[in-house]
């Protein structure tokens, strides 16, 4: 199911075929893509399913993401959101379906995909600066020693500082990263994911462990990067509210299947009740926040640490580590 995107984001208009997203206009879009080779979706899944340990987490997932779109992946704990990201990265295989990332098989697009795994907080004693961590995103996977006099070096240095500036981390990029706060670390890690100018960003709960002001600041940063730099963002979120007004589309995963579409068409009582086959109520608070009530937790024994409550306040959970 793939409802038509109601508000076409304007940034697409200037660089891309204006009819990029809606699948109802598929024939027109595919003609256009044949013409300029550009409007091909950045990510596409059709009939995708994934199995871990003999158990199907989700199946029949269809999704297309265009350049510059901001897509959130939502759902209860243990339902397979991180797994979806890992499948897109090519770290885990899909059991069924066709998956394309930038027109290639997952894992083949290399540095064109940026990744931020679920909650990493660095050891407070780690004596490596933020700028070095960002730098690793640029050339950390190369073998051999960099020649100090090589011409690329200054260019690379410039790029590292440029991207640190972009995420607003210049003030603390030279501090050991273990001593930076959760929000500061998250910004540096976003810079690391961005440093090679990826066309797709896969972010796994980047707002987790941040306090509310930091959540909205980092959400705004990601929204800005997505729309200004025309980067497609797929972001797993535990709470949709901080990113709600930046979003183009959401993917809501339940045990078994998933629904995709604009936030208003997916996050409502009807759709979620249908998806979970149990009464789910979506309440809207006065300030426009959404609260999902009655959503079942996944039946799995989750290794994930946050137990209950979706869309509620985030306590300080920095101390515990993510096991998976």
């Amino acid at each position: 199911m793939n409802p038509v995107v109601a508000a076409e984001p304007q940034h697409n208009a200037e660089r891309r075929d204006p009819s990029s997203a809606p699948s109802s206009a598929a024939s027109e879009a595919s003609e256009a893509s044949a013409a300029d080779g550009q409007a091909e979706p950045v990510l596409s899944l059709s009939g995708a399913a994934v199995r871990v340990g003999g158990r199907t987490l989700w199946s029949g997932v269809d999704l297309e993401v265009q350049a510059g779109e901001f897509v959130a992946v939502l759902g209860p704990n243990g339902v397979g959101k991180s797994t979806l990201i890992k499948v897109l990265l090519g770290i885990m295989p899909a059991a069924e379906g066709e998956i394309r990332v930038l027109g290639r098989r997952p894992g083949e697009a290399g540095s064109r995909v940026g990744y931020l795994p679920q909650r990493r907080s660095f050891d407070p004693d780690l004596r490596i600066r933020g700028v070095d961590v960002v730098r690793m995103g640029l050339d950390g996977d190369r073998w051999g020693v960099p020649l100090p006099w090589s011409r690329d070096r200054r260019e690379q240095q410039r790029r590292v500082y440029e991207v640190i500036e972009l995420v607003g981390a210049s003030a603390y990029a030279h501090r050991p990263i273990g001593q930076c706060s959760g929000g500061e670390q998250q910004r540096l890690l976003i810079a690391q994911a961005l440093v090679r100018r990826p066309e797709v960003l896969l972010l796994d709960e980047p707002l987790d462990s941040l306090d509310l002001p930091n959540q909205s600041a980092v959400a705004a940063l990601i929204g800005r990067i997505c729309h200004q730099e025309n980067v497609a963002v797929v972001m797993v979120a535990h709470d949709v509210n901080p990113i709600l007004h930046h979003l183009d589309r959401v993917v809501y995963i339940a045990e078994g299947g998933a629904v995709c579409g604009p936030p208003s068409e997916v996050i409502n009582s009807e759709t979620l009740t249908r998806l979970y086959r149990t009464p789910v109520e979506v309440l809207s608070t006065q300030d426009g926040r959404l609260v999902v009530v009655g959503q079942p937790e996944a039946p799995a024994v989750h290794t994930d640490r946050h137990g209950h409550g979706h869309g509620h306040g985030h306590g300080d959970r920095r101390a515990d580590r993510h096991a998976g």
Binding site: V113, G140, W143, A193
Partner: protein, 301 residues
């Protein structure tokens, strides 16, 4: 050896020490070992694998003891046992995240058993060696030119491997998930690193003895990482510190009738404490300056 007298004239002292071939070999071996142990130790400290390093160093003892007992080359005993132990550790931690704590109990048990085996080999030998002291706590008297050559070849191989693997290894150590997603072979690097750690430990154990390998593997790296958070600079500083404490230890042990391992460890430990004191002072000064600045700004407002 009756202790020569330290003249406080460095030129004269070095000339004197250089006139003994065993001292020349000791200085050469010390330099090689300090550089190799420092470089590998820097990654070990960063990866929080000091327990693995300790295990490998303990394994060096039964290796050397068995070599003595069975009459094969001491170097073979050291390198063979340490590298094999590195591979076993890699096998044991297969399928686990790096830095996992579950294996520590099992590793500890094996470690104790191997230490006991080493002691048994020494007891069985009953030969010229007066006891396990030299193997446990280091000696610099009997280093042959052949041994120096072996150390140099093995050390060069380790340094070359580190030069090739260094950047991805750093990435995989600091940020394994992103590194893996970027195509860095995180698991293979972890195995390769344990092998390098085995070789470096075998080298260091020949100078400081099996129990004091940490003096060269951990202390210089930990000291450097206290002083700076720049990876390149901190690695360089590690190597320089390791080299300095080793040579200073050799000089001290030449003039004073106490074990080399004691001197090297004490010097390294002293520097470690100094580095912490320096950082503490720098932080306190910074805080004070900030407080003064805030007070000044507050007063102006």
């Amino acid at each position: 050896m009756e202790s020569p007298v330290f003249s406080w004239n460095p030129l004269y002292d070095f000339q004197l020490m250089w006139s003994y071939p065993f001292m020349v070999n000791a200085f050469r071996a010390g330099a090689i070992v300090a550089v190799v142990a420092g470089a590998v130790g820097w990654f070990m400290v960063l990866r929080r694998q000091t327990f693995a390093g300790h295990t490998l160093s303990v394994v060096a003892f039964p290796g050397a003891a068995l070599a003595t007992l069975a009459g094969f080359s001491l170097s073979l005993g050291y390198f063979g046992f340490c590298v094999a132990a590195g591979l076993v550790l890699a096998l044991m931690r297969r399928g686990r995240e790096p830095g996992g704590s579950e294996e520590s109990a099992a590793t500890g048990v094996v470690q104790a058993f191997l230490l006991a085996c080493g002691y048994l080999f020494m007891a069985l030998y009953k030969g010229l060696l007066e006891g396990p002291q030299a193997l446990l706590f280091g000696s610099f008297l009997g280093i042959t030119t052949g041994q120096v050559a072996t150390l140099a070849v093995a050390g060069l191989a380790v340094l070359l491997a580190l030069a090739v693997l260094g950047r991805p290894l750093l990435f995989a150590s600091v940020d394994p998930q992103v590194a893996a997603a970027r195509g860095v072979p995180v698991r293979a690097l972890s195995v390769a690193f344990l092998v390098l750690l085995g070789v470096a430990t075998a080298e260091a154990a020949q100078i400081t003895g099996a129990l004091l390998v940490f003096a060269l593997m951990v202390l210089p790296a930990a000291t450097a990482q206290v002083l700076t958070a720049r990876p390149g600079l901190s690695l360089l500083l590690t190597v320089i510190l390791g080299f300095a404490v080793t040579w200073a230890g050799l000089v001290a042990a030449f003039y004073r009738p106490y074990p080399l391992g004691f001197f090297v460890t004490s010097f390294a430990f002293g520097l470690f404490l100094l580095a912490h004191a320096a950082r503490f002072t720098a932080r306190a000064l910074e805080r004070r300056r900030d407080a003064l600045g805030a007070a000044f700004a507050g007063g102006a407002a």
